[in-house]
Structure formats: structure tokens, C-alpha cells
Symmetry: C2
Subunit: 116 residues, 2 copies
DNA sequence: GGTCTACTTTAGTGATAACTAAAATACAGA
DNA sequence: TCTGTATTTTAGTTATCACTAAAGTAGACC
């Protein structure tokens, strides 16, 4: 598969991007949120997204945490957000405010994260 | 076919967009410039592009003149031009334009409704 | 009307991408 | 080590899309 536009063209992958736009999520939670697709298919999409630098992956014990790579998506950000609607934009603002309040995060390796 | 990203994802359609980005071109000249595809296929792409508002069409006697709809493409403009801007692309562009110009040699009379 | 050029539409084909199910891998904890 | 959980990878199927060839449509000029 060739370029970024081809990767972004698939609705399923845009859906995944939207999910990890704000929060870092483990693959399982992405799978659960999508609901109507197998874990394998989600994993394949994540691999493609990562190969094109659109998401970042980070290990946490057995889990793989994914997050949107906003820098790479910057040229499309306006368009994507328009597509996703105002709700996401509001969430994004909240997220940024939260992060600003939290300050720098301790980057150490975490064995287990509290369930949400 | 669903959205604009799906339409832009196809390399052939981006190629067509590039050709009509600056100049209004008749379908035949687009076909000639592409070179390795049938007229029918080009026409199908043009239909899709027009259906999504990415190009405009205007009749001139038997011909259909197409031009990029820059307003609709504005969100992607930077990205597309960056893609089209690299050296290899520029070389390719020169070759294509030469071939396109060679094509419609003034053999017969021109249409009465003449060129702008 | 008839013919020419310019283009579009239709029907059908092959390549590919998205999917599923199942096997394989990775890591944590007993 | 064995077991359970989380995820990836592989093999195979189905649906879709870009394509070709050929028939169809439109306007200009005779």
C-alpha cells in the first residue's frame, strides 16, 4: 500500500485514528470500541497506520498502547476534525487542558494501569 | 464511492487533478497526457471527480473542458502540491505536457467557437 | 440525413484490499 | 515451568475498484 492518502482513505482506519486521537489506547480497547470487527483485522490496520507514521506504539506489559501521531497528521487535521464533528474538537480541548494541568508525566515503565 | 479522501486516494485521479490544476483541459488532452489508459477510464475518473466537486466541467462544442475546483481542494492543497513539487514529478510533468501539445496538431479547422 | 470528432456509458475482467478464523508469539504471574 | 491474557501473523475468502473493449450519445459541418 502506497501513501498516506491511501491509508487515510479507509473508513475503518479513520475510525481508529479518531479513537486514539485523544488518548493512548491498548489494541484491545480499540477493538472493543469498534465492535463489529475481529481483533486480527484491527491489528492489521494498526500495523499499517504505524508503518506510515500515523500512530505511535508503546509496550506496556502484554499490551500495546497506541496513540495518534499528530505531527504526521497535521496537514489533514482540519479536514479530519471537520469530518469527526464538533464533539471531538471539544474533547480535544479538554484533553489539552488536562495535560497542561498535569504537567510533565513520569515516563517510567508501568506494569499495570488502573482500569478506567 | 464514499468521500473525498477515497477519491483522492487513487493515484490516477491525483494525476488528473495535477494536469487540470493550472489549465482548463479537454478530456482528450488529459487522456493523451496520461498516455497509458483508455479514454473510457479517464472519463470515469472525471465523472467521479466532478461528482465530488473536485473538478468543474464546461462544454465547448463537442469538447468538455475540465479544471480543478481549487476551493474544494483547499484543505489538501498544501499536501498535494508538496507531493507534486519534487524533482521527479517536475520532469514527468514536462514530458507529459510536451506529449499533450504534440497531440492535437492543427489538422482541420478549429471550432468556430474559438479559444479564449 | 449522414459523417466526423469528442466524449460517455455499459458490461465484463483481473487485481487488490478488507475481512475472518485460526495458529503463533509475547509477557506476567503462580 | 505452565497458564492465562493480549496481541500479531498467516492463510484463505469476498467485495470492490480500476481497468478494457465496445456500444452509445452529442454537437459541428456537409
Amino acid at each position: 500500500m502506497a501513501g498516506i492518502l491511501e491509508v487515510l482513505a479507509a473508513p475503518r482506519r479513520r475510525e481508529i485514528l479518531r479513537l486514539v486521537w485523544r488518548d493512548e489506547l491498548p489494541a484491545g480497547e480499540i477493538h472493543r470500541a469498534l465492535g463489529d470487527v475481529t481483533f486480527g483485522a484491527v491489528s492489521q490496520h494498526l500495523r499499517l497506520l504505524e508503518a506510515h507514521g500515523l500512530v505511535s506504539r508503546r509496550g506496556d506489559a502484554q499490551r500495546r498502547l497506541y496513540s495518534a501521531n499528530r505531527k504526521a497528521l497535521a496537514p489533514f487535521r482540519g479536514w479530519l476534525e471537520a469530518m469527526w464533528g464538533d464533539a471531538l474538537y471539544k474533547l480535544k480541548l479538554v484533553a489539552e487542558l488536562e495535560q497542561a494541568r498535569r504537567g510533565p508525566q513520569p515516563k517510567g515503565r508501568r506494569t499495570r494501569r488502573s482500569r478506567r
